[in-house]
Symmetry: C2
Subunit: 320 residues, 2 copies
């Protein structure tokens, strides 16, 4: 915390969300929070900027952060912070927090639903049923396959835990070795090639930072197995989509399961939409209910008022 923090026990709070600001405000009101103000658009924000001390928001108009002289704390409603951090528009003295610990379960379920769909060949069985065909065939086991998790934060850890439950070999790559004990083998950021070469399944849970921007490029794809399954639930920008398309065109046995993209919504002109070995979902792997994020904010607000360290605090220099 810094010296701008904590002026009074009833700070002026702005809740910003294009569709759900009122819903969040109601949740907070039910939890006993007062002095809540809501906005759904830039126009509605501007008259409130002079007084606001705390912003609780989803897709806030970033350039306005610098126009709030009393602003001390921004709580984002999501896990990703790249929009804010990479914009460099947040004054240094403002504390930035994100939601942590709420997305792991849903995202791991997303990953295993889609990976099992591929490994257990559900598409083939579905087609056989449609054609009234009874033709037994053995399908591969998850057990003993190697799952590589890029990024070992709270989301990656949940994927690792379930991977182990399925009897898989689990390897991981992360910037620091602090989380190395989570995996059977840990790789550092200068070992991308060796890391992906080992994997039957690659799960990307990386944040978007200057260092991860486009890290999955042609050179890295070329070191993957020709029948790899790639799952991206991190950020679209960590992956060069043109290089991915090129790789998938040459390796028809490979599959990409993509929930995040360079541009969202994914433009209709993208070749990814119609490739037979690509699965597209509209950024839904890590949902969090308005109730859950409001409770997270409420608990952080108690810490704020008491001058305690906030949960989910972002290291703006490290960009995540």
């Amino acid at each position: 915390m810094n010296d701008r923090m904590y002026t009074h026990a009833n700070p002026y709070i702005l809740v910003y969300h294009e569709r759900a600001a009122a819903l969040c405000a109601k949740e907070l009101h039910n939890l006993g929070v007062t002095n809540i103000h809501i906005a759904s658009s830039e126009e509605e924000v501007e008259p409130l900027l002079d007084q606001v001390e705390i912003i609780f928001c989803w897709k806030f108009p970033i350039r306005l952060f610098a126009k709030a002289p009393a602003l001390k704390w921004v709580q984002l409603m999501g896990a990703g912070v790249d929009d804010v951090v990479l914009s460099r528009q947040l004054p240094k003295e403002v504390v930035l927090t994100r939601i942590i610990g709420q997305f792991g379960a849903a995202m791991a379920e997303y990953v295993f639903a889609h990976v099992l769909y591929q490994i257990k060949q559900l598409e083939m069985w579905r087609t056989q049923q449609q054609e009234l065909i009874w033709k037994p065939k053995s399908v591969p086991l998850m057990r003993n396959k190697t799952m590589a998790i890029a990024g070992i934060g709270s989301i990656g850890q949940e994927v690792i835990r379930l991977g182990r439950a399925f009897g898989m070999r689990v390897i991981g790559l992360s910037k620091t070795s602090a989380s190395a004990h989570w995996v059977d083998q840990h790789y550092s950021t200068n070992q991308w090639g060796e890391f992906v070469a080992k994997a039957d399944i690659i799960v990307i849970t990386l944040p978007h930072t200057a260092a991860t921007q486009g890290v999955f490029n042609r050179k890295i794809f070329d070191q993957m197995k020709s029948d790899v399954i790639i799952v991206n639930v991190g950020r679209g920008a960590v992956l060069n989509e043109d290089d991915l398309v090129h790789f998938l065109q040459r390796h028809e046995q490979s599959v990409a399961i993509l929930d995040v993209f360079n541009t969202e919504p994914l433009p209709k002109a993208s070749p990814l939409w119609t490739m037979p070995n690509v699965v597209i979902t509209p950024h839904i792997s890590g949902p969090s209910s308005m109730v859950d994020v409001s409770v997270f904010f409420y608990e952080n607000l108690q810490r704020y008022v008491q001058g305690d360290r906030l949960h989910g605090q972002v290291d703006v220099e490290a960009e995540y």
Copy 2:
């Protein structure tokens, strides 16, 4: 074991399989077993009956067991024994063994692949992709759902273990309470109604015995939630298919995932093939490679020759 067991160290072994007898025999030969004879049809079996001491088989012509005067042990290549046991054609003094401990992993993977497909609504996302639609929507979590496992043998236990890994509440029903410690709540066979009423997902891993024959009937279906997911990887005969069809027609939100049927292959005339809330697979949830079953038999053969108790021994009276 009984007094007919173990006559000499090199017993006469018949390997029977309609398609893979030679492959099994080769595996056994590679493991150092001699005195192996193979057959793929009833005609090929008959000349060998006088001498055979051990039969290692898949779908053996059951009435021939009684025509082998020197027969002491039958090792089935599968986990299910209903064909043999319910036929009452196996002489009492012949030891019957089945494969155990090899099917759990594959069957649990089958169960979770299909359950996740339903819960995470992969069909809906697939349709959206085909229509180039980007429309986010939150989908249910596996976590905190109640999974009910009917039958707590080695297969049921593997399903329970993964259910826990997904954060589900796991309840179980079995004939004896010996396996009650595996589940959050245990039900006995006089509590079918209460058991199924609690379940979001029902996984049937029951063997087919006189007691389990048709136990899933109209009365039991009527006590299930209207949006239940039913998975049958046990035996088709434990479930009344007409009653199931009736239930699924009235409850469109319910889904049945069926790998086993009263008659297999499932007749083309069955309404199950084309119902929108039914998933059909051709008895593939619990495969085992010829290598795996051959190794299981080989290890049991060592025990046989040494006069030790065999693994997977069937209690013919209990019918499983």
